[in-house]
Structures are given as structure tokens and as C-alpha cells.
């Protein structure tokens, strides 16, 4: 796998992330990869960092938020608050009844993280074998 290939792979990952609503990663990942002279190692490490960040930050914050809200905000039925939902609105035009985005439905990215890690290790191993040969 050449460094050009690596760049293409990183762009592919960025495109995938973008397609899943994580567009902010796109430009960052690609531009940082392009800046890097040692794109191979750098990209692998960077992808790990991105994936770890995605999995960690939103889930932990979400759990803390639900716990606090559940404890101090009652519901008419006496049940605990079970979700945080973001209703998509734009200025004064309410889109209630339209799109709603549930933060709780955010996928568990741990599988993705471990798969990307394994892939990164494969790529590293192949790269090392290639340079030795």
C-alpha cells in the first residue's frame, strides 16, 4: 500500500464519516493527512484518535446528563427521563413534527473503533513487511 493509497484510504474514511453525519471530521482528517510528510503512520494514529474521541465523549456526557435529568426533573407520569431528543428547527420556522434527532440513538462506535484498529494494525504490518522486502 503506497502513501498515495493511504491518503485515498483516509479520504475514504472521511467520506464515510461525512456520510454518517460526522462531516466535521472530514476536512480535518483529510487536511491533516495531506499536511503530513509521514502520512502512513500519521494517518493510522490520527484515525485511532478520532475514533476513540467519537466513542468516548458523546456517550459519557449523555449518560451523565440522563442521570442528572432523571434525578431532578420529574415527568407527568412519574417515570424517569429516558432520552434526550433534539428537534430540528431553523430560526422562527418550527419544524415540530418533522425531523427529530435522538442523541440516544447514536450508534455504539466501539465496534467501529476496534475494527478500524485491527485494520490499522494490518496496514502497519503490511507496510513494515513491504519496507523490509
Amino acid at each position: 500500500v503506497t502513501s498515495e493509497d493511504h491518503r485515498a484510504i483516509v479520504e475514504h474514511v472521511a467520506t464515510q464519516l461525512s456520510a454518517h453525519g460526522l462531516a466535521f471530521v472530514h476536512t480535518d482528517a483529510v487536511s491533516r493527512a495531506r499536511r503530513s510528510e509521514r502520512s502512513r503512520d500519521y494517518c493510522v494514529v490520527y484515525l485511532r484518535a478520532v475514533a476513540d474521541q467519537l466513542a468516548f465523549r458523546s456517550r459519557r456526557a449523555f449518560q451523565h446528563t440522563l442521570a442528572l435529568a432523571g434525578e431532578y426533573i420529574g415527568t407527568p407520569s412519574g417515570l424517569r427521563i429516558d432520552d434526550v431528543v433534539v428537534t430540528v428547527t431553523s430560526g422562527e420556522s418550527d419544524l415540530i413534527g418533522g425531523d427529530r434527532v435522538s442523541l440516544q440513538s447514536a450508534p455504539d462506535l466501539s465496534v467501529l473503533v476496534s475494527t478500524l484498529r485491527a485494520l490499522a494494525e494490518d496496514v502497519e504490518r503490511d507496510g513494515s513487511a513491504e519496507s523490509r522486502s
Binding site: 475514504h12 454518517h20 451523565h64 446528563t65 431532578y72 415527568t75 434527532v101 462506535l109
Partner: protein
């Protein structure tokens, strides 16, 4: 391994992680927005905690079991869920998120219609009297809160000082609607309590300036 094979494996990994409903996953907010919205919900819950423990009030979601937040500001729309604040079983106020509040400058100009962009500002969390609807007037705000899950820099201080200017005039020792929390008295008329919650510990450095105008800076990390 070829690049094509690596790409296939990456695509498979994403497909597996996000499941068959890629369209649903596509609707998720960008991470930055998720954190901002989560922080808003967290602060809302922290306010409910303090109202209960320090003021003896209770907070009840108006409908359902889901805490709903909006991605953009707007007038108070009573078809949205909100939080009723009650004292001994009677609703005494309501908490809303992402609400447009009309400015004092607009009121002083005789409230010309239609409202221009300069005539209202969005606030992250607002407490108003029960049954408030539409754009909340500056003189009906009981508590106004800005939430920042980012570093709190000086330009944000200037921003909140501007918000205070559009909510109230400087006047010493005016009684608020509260016994002690957030404040029993503010140097502001109308006497709204204005608060900034931030994850940045450095937010407290702006306290002295804020104190002079009745703005409280609260370092509130998600712990």
C-alpha cells in the same frame, strides 16, 4: 492488502457500526453540536437540581419522558415540551430552551413590528412566568442562561455584557423572584438573573466584571 481491500473493509466496518439504517445515522448531529446540545440538557438538569435543593421548587416535564431540545432558537411554542416549575403544587414559572427574547431597545422604541434581527436574542435556557407564549419580553425573564461547552474567551464576556444591557438597566439591589438562588437581589431592573455556565474553569476569571451587573459565571463540568 490492497487499497481497494482496505476501503472495502472500512466500508464494511461503518456499515456494521451504523447498521442498516444509514439514513437514520445520517440524521445524527455532528459531534460538536451533540456536545453543545448535551451540555444544554446537562445545565437544564443542574438548574432543576438547584431550584429544588436551594429554593424548594420542583421541576416537572410538561409532557412525556423525553427531554427535548431544539437545534435552533425560536419563539416560545407551547406545543413543545417544557419544564414546569412548581411551588407547593402550583406552577409558578416555566423553563424553556433556545428561546428568542425581545430586547429592551426594541421596547424603548415602542415595539415596532415586524421584529428585526436586532430586536431579539436567543438564550439557551430561559425561565419565564407560566403561559408565556411567542417571543419572550425582556421584562418577563426571571432567569436567563447561556451554556458554553467550549473555552470561554473574552469576546464571550463582551457578548454576555451586551445581553445584560438588553435585558435590564443598572439599578442597585433589586429583589428577584427568588429567596436565595440564583440570587435574592440583582443590580438590575427588571431584575432578571443572568447566568453563564461553562465547562471552562477559566470562566470564573470574568466574575468580578459580571458581578457588577448581576451576571453569574458558573464553572460546571460534566462530571
Amino acid at each position: 492488502m490492497t487499497a481497494a481491500e482496505a476501503k472495502r473493509r472500512i466500508s464494511r466496518a461503518f456499515g456494521k457500526a451504523f447498521g442498516p439504517g444509514a439514513a437514520q445515522a445520517g440524521g445524527l448531529l455532528a459531534l460538536g453540536d451533540v456536545l453543545g446540545k448535551l451540555y444544554e440538557a446537562y445545565v437544564l438538569a443542574a438548574i432543576a437540581r438547584d431550584l429544588r435543593t436551594k429554593e424548594g421548587l420542583t421541576a416537572t416535564l410538561s409532557t412525556g419522558t423525553k427531554l427535548c431540545l431544539k437545534t435552533g432558537g425560536g419563539p416560545i411554542n407551547r406545543t413543545y415540551p417544557h419544564i414546569d416549575i412548581q411551588y407547593q403544587g402550583t406552577t409558578v414559572a416555566e423553563l424553556w430552551t433556545d428561546v428568542f427574547v425581545t430586547t429592551m431597545s426594541w421596547a424603548r422604541r415602542g415595539r415596532p413590528t415586524p421584529c428585526q434581527a436586532c430586536d431579539y436574542h436567543e438564550l439557551d435556557v430561559v425561565m419565564v412566568p407560566p403561559d408565556t407564549t411567542g417571543l419572550a419580553a425582556h421584562d418577563c425573564v426571571l432567569i436567563a442562561v447561556e451554556c458554553k461547552a467550549t473555552s470561554y474567551e473574552k469576546h464571550l464576556l463582551r457578548q454576555i455584557l451586551g445581553v445584560r444591557r438588553e435585558l435590564s438597566l443598572l439599578r442597585d439591589g433589586v429583589a428577584t423572584s427568588f429567596c436565595s438562588w440564583p440570587r435574592a437581589y440583582v443590580p438590575a431592573l427588571p431584575p432578571s438573573c443572568l447566568m453563564v455556565y461553562s465547562t471552562d474553569p477559566a470562566v470564573s476569571q470574568w466574575g468580578p466584571a459580571g458581578d457588577a451587573f448581576g451576571i453569574d459565571f458558573v464553572h460546571c463540568p460534566i462530571v
